[in-house]
Every structure is written in structure tokens, then in C-alpha cells.
Amino acid sequence: MNFYEHTLIAKQDLSTLELENIEKKYKDIITKTAGKVIKVEKWGLLNLAKKIKVYNKGFYIHYKFEAESKTLEEIKKNSIIDNSLLRHLTVKYKKLDTDTEYFKEKDANEKEK
């Protein structure tokens, strides 16, 4: 069992219900293949640095989980076929730090101003 981080970019023009379905779908994939979801972060709608397939913005969803190589294959298979996603990335970690959230602090500071 190893620790991984997985981030998705969903398309900009999706409804909130569809976004929840996407979040649920990948959560289920991890839990079905004997994995363990530690944390799910929603970064919300962010500007992309460059245009990706006509889109300027995207919804970011971030998973932190513990699993084996079986689940990674399963996630990769599904996210390549998935039409509502723009990009995805998985990174392996020896240790996960669940405390620091780089994208949540920004929003809180902006609201105060």
C-alpha cells in the first residue's frame, strides 16, 4: 500500500449535480478496489494558465488516498475515456501532509479584503 494524490480538471460548463457525480464516481473506484480515501479537496473554479481544448477555466478536484497499483490502472482507464474531464495527474508520496491546503487559504484572504 502506498500513498497517492490525484487531481482532476473537469470542464467549465458542468452543473453542480454532474460535478458531484464525478466526485462520487472516482471515490467509489478507489474504495471498490480495496483503497482508502483519506481526504477530498474541492479547489473550485480556477483559471487555467493556457487554453486547454477551448476552455479557459476548470473545476479542480483533489484526492488523497492509500491504495495499490490496481486502483491506479482503474482510475487511468476511466479518466481517459471520460468526456467531462480535461486533465488528470497522479503523484506518489512517501508521506502525505493533510494539514496544508494551498488553495483554500487564498479564497479566505480574498473574501476578507
Partner: protein, 90 residues
Amino acid sequence: MKRKNKKFNKRPQNPLNKLSLFQKSDSRFSKKCPLSGKDAPIIDYKNVKLLKRYVSDTDKIMPSRITSVSQNKQRKLTSEIKKAKILGLI
């Protein structure tokens, strides 16, 4: 009578002595690596604020001879910057 020891008094450098306007003065240049040592920032692809400092205006990775990052950390930086570029964060 005491004579002032003028030899060791550092005189301020005349800006006209420089070869070019963009040449940095010697005192300002630091050779220490800003990313290693105690309470150094974490290099991670989510830490976009930090990574943007080491990228030029045209999205190129800055060479370590300019930023004075150590070789070990420079290797980490490049891999994290490339990850951030895949996700469209930089």
C-alpha cells in the same frame, strides 16, 4: 591625536563605476540557496506562489546560476514545475 583609520572604512560605491546599469552590486548578491536550510518552503506542485518565482515571463524555468538554488533542489523544482504545467496552474 587619534587618527581615523580610513583604510578600513568602506566607501559607498560610485554607481558610475559599473560597467552596465544591470550589473548587481557585490554586497547584494547572496550565494546561499533560498530553498535549503532551516524552515525552508516546501517545494510542491500545489505551492504555485513559490514556483512562479522560479519561472520567467515566458514560462521558462530559471537557471540556478541566476537564482542560486542548490543542485539538489533545482532538480526537485524542475520536476514540480513540470507537474504544475500539466495541470495548467502555471
